[in-house]
Each structure stands twice: as C-alpha cells, then as structure tokens.
Symmetry: C2
Subunit: 229 residues, 2 copies
C-alpha cells in the first residue's frame, strides 16, 4: 500500500472522524480497530502511532463533542443583558442540540446512540457533557439565586440534578421511540410533549419558580422530531 504522510494533527482528526462515524453506526464494541484503519486508509502501525489504545478514541471523541457543545452556548453565557431566567431558558434551548443540530439530526442521533450496543458510547458522551456543562449551569443558577429569583440552597448540586434530569428525559424519549409503531405516532408525540412539559415543571419547582417559567422544548418540536426520517 502506498505511503501517504500527513501532519500529526490532520491524521489524528481523520482517524477521529472515521472512528466517530463507525462508533455511531455500529457502536464502540462492535467496531474493530481494523474497521477504523480500513475506513481511514491507514495501517495498524499508523493508528497506534497516534493512539495508544482503542479506548483513547472514546476519550478523544467525547472530549471533542463536549467541547463543541460548550461552544454552542457560549454567546448566551456572554450576553450581559440576559436575566438568569432568560439565560437558563436559552441554555435549555441550545443544549438540546448537544448531540444534534436540528430535529431530523436529533432523531437520527437518538435512533443510534440509545441502542444497547452503544451503551458505553452513550454513557461516555453523557458523562463528558455533564462534566463540561455543570460549571456553566452552576454559574447561571448562582446568578439567579443572587437575583433572588431562584430559591435553591446549593447551585452546583442543583445544576447537576438538572443535567441528570435532562438525561432521564432523553432515556424516556428513546424508550418511546423504540416502543413506537407508526400507528401510535400521535400518541407518542402527545406522551412526549407531556413529558417535556413535566420536566419543565420539575425544574421550576427545584429552582423555586412558578410552574411554567421554564420551557424545555418549543411547541412543535416533538412533532418535528418524531415525524422526521
């Protein structure tokens, strides 16, 4: 096989791109290093020149995804005109696209990430994004507490709980999608809308806000996701 030399960074990212595509397609365990090097067009030695183990791929990929996510909400954090409540609502709207860009992609990501064979992948992504988002959310909640809008003893603990709450809703969405036949599409949309709304109420109550202060998803989002394909 011909030898193609590139800069270490370029090659690393190529490998990461290829591996990420395969992991999301088949899952981590079901993707072999040979699969990755075949996709990238590189040799075994070349791969292990850039990564010390297959496991490294997971760490690098999840770190990259988490970093992308935090970039996506930066402007909301940096806008000094926003109140804590506005900031939190904006944060929720944006962070929904942590693993997505728009509704169809959101749906596609769900179809893939929540399959049993992708358990490890999912857990790593989740843990990484929580670790990255926790300080961000903590600052927002602390601001709200300072403003006297949020009633909560420990902003950091509250932040973590809110993030886990998000994850639990994701689980529910995934289960609903999986259990859904095309005939019950309307029922599924209804159920998920209620679930999102309930999550908003729960977050309101945790933060000591009046019910309905926070919006998890804008109207029509659930339908857009569920009918996408």
């Amino acid at each position: 096989m011909p030898r193609v030399v590139k800069s270490a960074d370029d090659r690393r990212n190529e490998i990461l791109d290829g591996a990420q595509a395969l992991f999301f397609e088949r899952g981590y365990e079901r993707t072999t290093v040979n699969d990755v090097i075949a996709k990238v067009g590189i040799s075994k030695g070349g791969f292990y020149h850039h990564f010390t183990a297959k496991e490294d791929l997971l760490e690098a990929i999840t770190a990259r995804l988490a970093q992308d996510a935090v970039v996506r909400v930066r402007d909301i954090l940096d806008d000094p005109a926003l109140s804590a409540l506005e900031r939190l609502n904006g944060f929720m709207a944006r962070s929904r696209s942590m693993k997505l860009a728009d509704a169809p992609k959101f749906r596609a990501a769900f179809d893939v990430v929540f399959r049993p064979e992708n358990l490890v992948l999912y857990h790593r992504i989740n843990a990484a994004s929580i670790a990255v988002m926790r300080p961000v959310l903590t600052r927002i909640i602390a601001q709200g507490k300072a403003e006297g809008v949020f009633t909560v003893p420990d902003p950091e603990a509250a932040a973590e709980i809110l993030l886990h709450l998000n994850a639990s809703t994701h689980d529910a969405v995934a289960r609903t999608i999986e259990a859904m036949g095309t005939s019950e599409e309307e029922a599924a949309i209804e159920a998920l809308d209620q679930r999102f709304q309930f999550q908003g109420i729960v977050m309101d109550r945790i933060l000591g806000l009046p019910d309905g202060s926070l919006t998890i998803v804008e109207p029509g989002f659930t339908r857009a996701v569920m009918t996408a394909r």
Copy 2:
C-alpha cells in the same frame, strides 16, 4: 480433572456467584470467562452449557440483584396501614440498600461499582433496578396523588425522575469519595449530608410537598458510610 455433576440450578447459581464476585472486583470487561470457570472450578464446556454468552452473566446477575431489591421493600408496599408519605419514606430508607445491607457494605459497594472499569456493570445494575422499581414507585406516588398529598401530573414520569435523582446523588457520593483525602473527611461528610438533604428537598418540591417532608438518609448515616472501611 474430575467430573462433578450438580443440578442445573445449583450450578447456575454457583457460576453466578463466582462471576458476580469477580465482576465487582475487576469489572466486567476485565474479567474473562476463563477467570470465572477457574473460580467456580468448571470447564469451558460446562460454562457454555449453562450460559450462551458472557453477556448472559450480566443480565442474570443484574436481574438477581434487582429481584433482591424488590423483595426488600415488599412489606412496605403490602402494609395497608401506611400513608403514601410514610410508604415513600420507608421505600427510600429500604431502597438505599439495593446494592448493600449496611453502611460498610454500602461504602464497599461504592468503592467498587463506580470505578471506571465497572461502568458497564454500574449502568446495567442501575437500569435494571430502575426498571424494577419504576412500577413500584409509580403506585406509591399514585396513591399519594389520590390522597391529595402529592401534587404531580404524571405519577409514572415522576417515579422515573425520582429514581434518576437517586442515581445522580449516587454519582455525587462516588465522586466525593474518590476526591476525598483522609484529611478532608469531615468536609466530605458535611458536603454529602447537605447533598442528601438537598435531594430530599428536591423530591419534596417535585411532589408538591412542604420542604422537609421526605428523609433520604437518617442522621449519622453519612458519617457511618464515610468512616467505614
């Protein structure tokens, strides 16, 4: 090697016991089938006579653990004299011992289950116990709603959220333990006590109860756990 024949059930449980011990010690991936059969004193063929794959061990073990857990709370569910609030408090007190019996065991389980190499094991146990406990908690919450004590639109969704909330506290406990040097033991105990208390408040608010209605851990439990070894 001499051939020892036992009933299928006995042998199955022996294998499960040995595998469980190893999984909790080294993690799932780092435990090989050869390790298991060496510990149990059985051959490869014998193992695959009772289990079709290594993966089966995970399913069987988590199912067993989840079943034990539900047995442990049955009397609370069956006692008709209890109000929903009493039942819920009792449930919380009992279900803390899902993966434990007393404080030292609780601590030991934490030291082990939350290590990175046990990620798969942890996730499976967690998912299984949530799946088992969800209907149970749902009934309790529905009762409370009927009694007019709990203010919550969807008991099932609330049950799921409460269970995830528990898991998120477990995460926090594990991280605190891991980050704890012996010098900061008191600070860690303090932090965790506050965290448990906050979890109680969060649950109160989710269910529309006055703050302080639910108790996650009895006084002194945190200290007992953290000083155990």
